[in-house]
Structure formats: structure tokens, C-alpha cells
Amino acid sequence: MFFNLVRNELQKTWRSRWIVFAVMGVIFLLIAGGLYTYYVVTVGRWSPPAAVAWQTTVRADIANNQQELNSLEQIKQQGDGPQGGGQFGLDDAIAQVQQQINDDQYLLDHDIAPVQSFSITLAALFALGGIVMFLLVRIFGWLASEQIAGERSDRTIAILLSRPMSRDQLLLAKAVASFLISLAVVVVTFLIVYAIWAFVTGSVGPLTAQVGIAVDGSKPLAGNNLVVMSIPLFVLMCLGGAMLGVLCVQGMSLLVSAVFGRWAAIGITLAVLFGAPLVSTVVGGIIFAISQNPNKAHFLNYLFVNVLAPVSALTPVFGNGSAGPSGTGMNEFGFQIATLAVWTVAFFLAAWLIFHRKQEAG
């Protein structure tokens, strides 16, 4: 019976919103095609570049950072740059670059690949976090916001609720169907991005090697401040983090959906999902302007909309740089996962409470 209900929900979403998935597919094709064209035009070849070992990349990073360090030291000796111990003073910039060199050297010495070394880990960071998940999460939010609200607007909710099943079953079936659809889309997206990265790096890369991630990205990589894990575990962790973000949004959307009609539910959900990051960016900017300390705005991360793609907290995707203002590393990832988990439970609980008691006009 429950399987039948989930099947119904999958059928309804697919048949009523297949165009959304088709558009997403076309966008992916266009992006992949555009990137490939750009590659062909700029590099002048049709085939992927030769693969580069991660050690070579890290050594090149060290060499680049060493050059940057030298120029910063020169500037300091000439007395051209800002002096002193301010937040963004020359000394801090020098210390930061020095730490990057030390971190890279530590990884080389201990034969631990940085997390960005392989196409599959890059794909996990890029497809399961960052801008890709930012957009996907909002599409999933929109679809989930229609789950009950759409039925209410079409009056089919009355027929469904008059059927011999509990409201809990119906709500759970809708949540499970939404989750399964989003899981399928996220996995396909991940595979497409992986294919792109495999082309760009010239290698599908190892799938069973190990990668290192900082526990606290703002501190030197050494000793206790480093977690080493296998690639499959890392990918699963990223997938889990991404799907928790999706689940959280779906919980919020179902809560909105349990109360309003179709267009109100879609409007409110998208307004929250797009508006809240905007508001927190403005608030963060104001806090920074007043305090001149970016870490003062860090608490904004825990207003759930900022942590919907917690994978982004693991490490900056491009480069081995130290922590940004919002912090990176496993600790930050853990905090964001915990935050998301609390929000997710709260949203689903509220959605269940409301839907359970909701008087439907039919």
C-alpha cells in the first residue's frame, strides 16, 4: 500500500513536471557543450589533456606560493604595503601564504593527497556543494512546495484524504517521493560533473585512494588537524551532506505546502530560499563593516538557508587556501550538518503536526 502511494506521487510529479527535468537536462548539456567548446578553442585540441599526478600539482602550488611569498617579502622590505597587525595587513598575507606552503609540504611529505586531487573528489565538492546544489535545492524546494498545496488547489486532496489511508501515510509518501526524485537528480548531476572533471583533468582518477581534509581549515594541516579518508567514504559523506540539505528544504516546503494553496506555497518557498541568503549577505556585510572582523558574521551560517550545501564547508574547491571568513574543514561541516539536522527535524515535525490536523475544504 505505502509503495503504491509513493508510486502515485512519483507518477504525478513526473507527469506534471517533466518539463522541469527536461529543462535541467538541456541546461546540463549546454553547460557541458559550452565548456567543451571553450576547451577546444582555447587549448586547440579535441581530446582531453594528459593527466597530471597530484604530487606534481602540489609541487607547482608550492612553487607558485613561494614566488608569491617572495614578492610579498619584497613589498614588505620596500615598505610599500600596509603595515602592522591589522586583519588584512601584509604580515597576515605573508603568514597565510606561508601556511599554504607548509600545508602542501606536509601533505607531500606524508603522501596524503589533498581533497581536490582527483576528478571524483572534485566532482563531489563541485556537484554536491556550491552553486550547483544552491540551484538544485531551490528547484527541489519548489517541487516539494507543490506536493500538498497543488493537490489542494486542484481539489484532489479531498479525494485522497477520503481514501482509506492515514494522513501520516500520505505525507510520508509525498516526502519519500520528493526525496527519491531529488536523489536521482543529484546522483545524475554528480555523474555528469564527474564526467566533465574527468575530461578536464585527463583522468577518471583513482576511486579507492585516500584524501586528507583539515579538521579546522584555519589552522596548519598537521597531526590532529587532519582527517584522512577513502574516496568512496568522502563521496558518500558529500552525498549525505547534500541530501540532508535537500531534505531540510523539502521539510520546509512541505510545511508551507500543508498550509497554503499552490501559488502561495511556491511563492513563499522560493522567497525564503532566495531571499534569506540575500538578507544574510547584507546583514553579514553590515556586521563586517562595523566590526571589521568577518568572523563576527559567522553565526549567520547557522540560519539554515546558509548551510543548505554543507559540502561547501569542507574546503575551498579551487585551491588549497586556508580558511575563508566562514571557516572550513570537518568541524565546520559537522556543525553545519548538526544545524541542518535540527532544522530538518523541526520542519518535518511542524509539517506533520499541521497536516495531521488540517481541516480541508475540498
Binding site: 504525478k12 481514501r163 481541516q359
Partner: protein, 325 residues
């Protein structure tokens, strides 16, 4: 026959508006039951409570002995329902809609779906998307949806909405057939009095959230007595003679040389005898059956189809002396 629908002291308020005020009714198994009342009378609210969509503030609503809210899953196994506006998925075909709703009851019985499509005359258009259906076709498909799973009770809220006269006639025949051949109980809510009059065994008239009358249709239509039109040779003398008969009143008729007589009981023969004995020629005595419309107007003060019927306005009439559950 045991009651399949039992409503006892049902009350429901929306804010300050009292939609239902202690209404009680029961529907016996196999009965075709008419649920009448002007818009805003509380019919749809009662149906929503029966379907488990809304919770009553007071009283109980039971189907097959199961509370429609607290034992919804068990009660819902016994009935199928259609709503005022057919609730279907426009992006699916008629057959896919039936399959989808059938899955909410258990394994899909393709044979039953095909039979139901045939029963409601939708076989030819079964594979077209519902968004391309006319209102009448949607109503018919909604009826097929209600009959999925072979329920014992059909709750139909204004099922003739959007149907043309042929469609209404077809629906009436179909419902009668379902009631007589399959023993289905039909809870038929409608504002079309002629439909209820022709289809239903028993009716409840609801007005402003209160039951104004309930009972057998024949009983209800005569509850204010008997009425005769008598064509006579001398109208004035005939009126005097009839008024002398205990329990009868008479007035000049609308047709020339006729009088209209109203009586509490069937006094046709006595009046005829009195007129003849008084030397008045009686050309014919017609027993005038009161229509449901007359009763409805008496009970609700609302003329069906008038602007008042939409707003349920007008002074609340006094409760009828019979059949108050």
C-alpha cells in the same frame, strides 16, 4: 435495514458562522437518500465531515459504525465519493486517473477499471488526458472513481453539475440501476429538486445548518395535508359547503368554475358526497399532489434557482412537524 450513515447532533462552526447546528440523520443500507438545501445550508460541510476532511465541533458522524474522523481508514473502505467539482488529475488520462486512485485502495484491478469506464460511457475517451474532457465527462469519470473498490455507499455532492439533460437522465438511470441491482446506498446531495424527487426514496431538507424536515418523499410531500381541485357548477355555494366539512378549507380556484380544497386528511369522498347532497354539480375532483418544490419553498423560504437560493437569505422558516430526527 441497518443504517450505514448515522449522524447524531453534528455541529460545526467556522469562526462565528454556525455551519451546522445539531443535525441528525441516518441513511439505511440500500437506500437512495436525497440531501437537499439551498447553497450555504450546510450540505457540503456535512459531506466533508463524513469524508473525514473536517472534524466536527460536536456530535458524531459514523459510516458503517466507524467514526468518520477517528476511524477514518475503516470508514473510508465503505464509501466512494465525488465532489461538487470533479477532482481529477488533468495531466493524466482517464484510465490513468482511475489506476492512480485504485492504488490508494490496494492492488489495481484492470478489469474493474475497464468495466467502470464502460459503465459511465467513457471507454472511447479513456486514454485522452482529462484536461481535454468536458465538465460532463469529468463528472462521469469522477463517478467511476467513486465506484472503485466496490464501495457499499456512494456519497455524491451535486453530481449533476455540468451535465446536459441527456447526461442527467443517464446518471439517474445509472444510479437507480446501481441501487437496485447492486444494492448500493446512495447519498445524493443536490439542488435539483426534480432529480431528487425522481431518484430518492427519502430526503432530508437542510437550511441554515438545521434539519428542517426528514422522511419518506411521499410522506414529506403530503405533510401539510391533501389538496384537491374540484370543478363545480356553483363556486360560492361549493365553498360554503366544503367549509362546513370538519377539517377542510376551501378557496376560489385559479381555473374558472373551480375551487381549491385543502384538508388535513384524505376527505375527497366525503367532500364529493357533501357537494352532491347539496345539489352542486361536480364535474371532476382532482387530487393535487404537492411537488417537492412546494415543500422545499415552505420549509426553506427559498425559491430554487432564485437569487435567494444562492445566499440562503430570507427569514428562517419554522421547523416542519414531521420527521425531525
Amino acid at each position: 435495514m441497518p443504517a450505514i450513515v448515522e449522524v447524531e447532533g453534528l455541529s460545526k462552526k467556522f469562526g462565528r458562522v454556525r455551519a451546522l447546528n445539531q443535525i441528525s440523520l441516518s441513511v439505511a443500507e440500500g437506500e437512495v437518500f436525497g440531501f437537499l438545501g439551498p447553497n450555504g445550508a450546510g450540505k457540503t460541510t456535512t459531506i466533508r465531515i463524513l469524508l473525514g476532511l473536517q472534524r466536527a465541533d460536536g456530535g458524531t458522524a459514523r459510516i458503517g459504525g466507524f467514526d468518520s474522523w477517528t476511524e477514518h481508514s475503516k470508514a473510508a473502505r465503505l464509501f466512494g465519493a465525488t465532489l461538487e467539482q470533479p477532482a481529477l488529475y488533468g495531466f493524466l488520462s482517464g484510465r490513468e486517473n482511475l489506476r492512480l486512485f485504485a492504488r490508494t485502495l490496494g492492488p489495481v484491478d484492470e478489469k474493474q477499471i475497464t468495466e467502470l469506464l464502460d459503465t459511465v460511457g467513457m471507454t472511447e475517451r479513456a486514454n485522452d488526458k482529462v484536461k481535454r474532457y468536458s465538465m460532463g465527462m469529468r463528472q462521469r469519470l469522477a463517478l467511476a472513481q467513486a465506484m472503485l473498490g466496490k464501495p457499499r455507499l456512494l456519497i455524491l455532492d451535486e453530481p449533476t453539475n455540468g451535465l446536459d439533460p441527456n447526461g442527467i437522465h443517464g446518471l439517474r438511470i445509472l444510479l437507480r440501476k446501481l441501487a437496485t441491482e447492486q444494492g448500493l446506498t446512495i447519498f445524493f446531495s443536490s439542488h435539483l429538486l426534480s432529480e431528487v424527487e425522481e431518484l430518492c426514496d427519502r430526503v432530508v431538507v437542510l437550511h441554515r445548518g438545521e434539519v428542517k424536515a426528514a422522511g419518506e418523499l411521499s410522506e414529506l410531500m403530503n405533510f401539510k395535508g391533501f389538496q384537491y381541485r374540484i370543478d363545480v357548477s356553483d363556486v360560492d355555494k361549493a365553498i360554503d359547503v366544503v367549509r362546513s366539512v370538519n377539517g377542510a378549507t376551501a378557496e376560489r380556484g385559479t381555473i374558472k368554475d373551480s375551487i381549491t380544497v385543502t384538508a388535513d386528511m384524505d376527505l375527497g369522498r366525503i367532500i364529493n358526497h357533501a357537494l352532491v347532497a347539496a345539489g352542486i354539480g361536480v364535474d371532476q375532483l382532482v387530487h393535487m399532489r404537492r411537488g417537492l418544490e412546494d415543500v422545499y419553498i415552505d420549509l426553506t423560504g427559498v425559491v430554487p434557482g432564485s437569487p435567494l437560493s444562492a445566499s440562503a437569505g430570507g427569514p428562517p422558516p419554522a421547523p416542519s412537524p414531521i420527521g425531525r430526527n
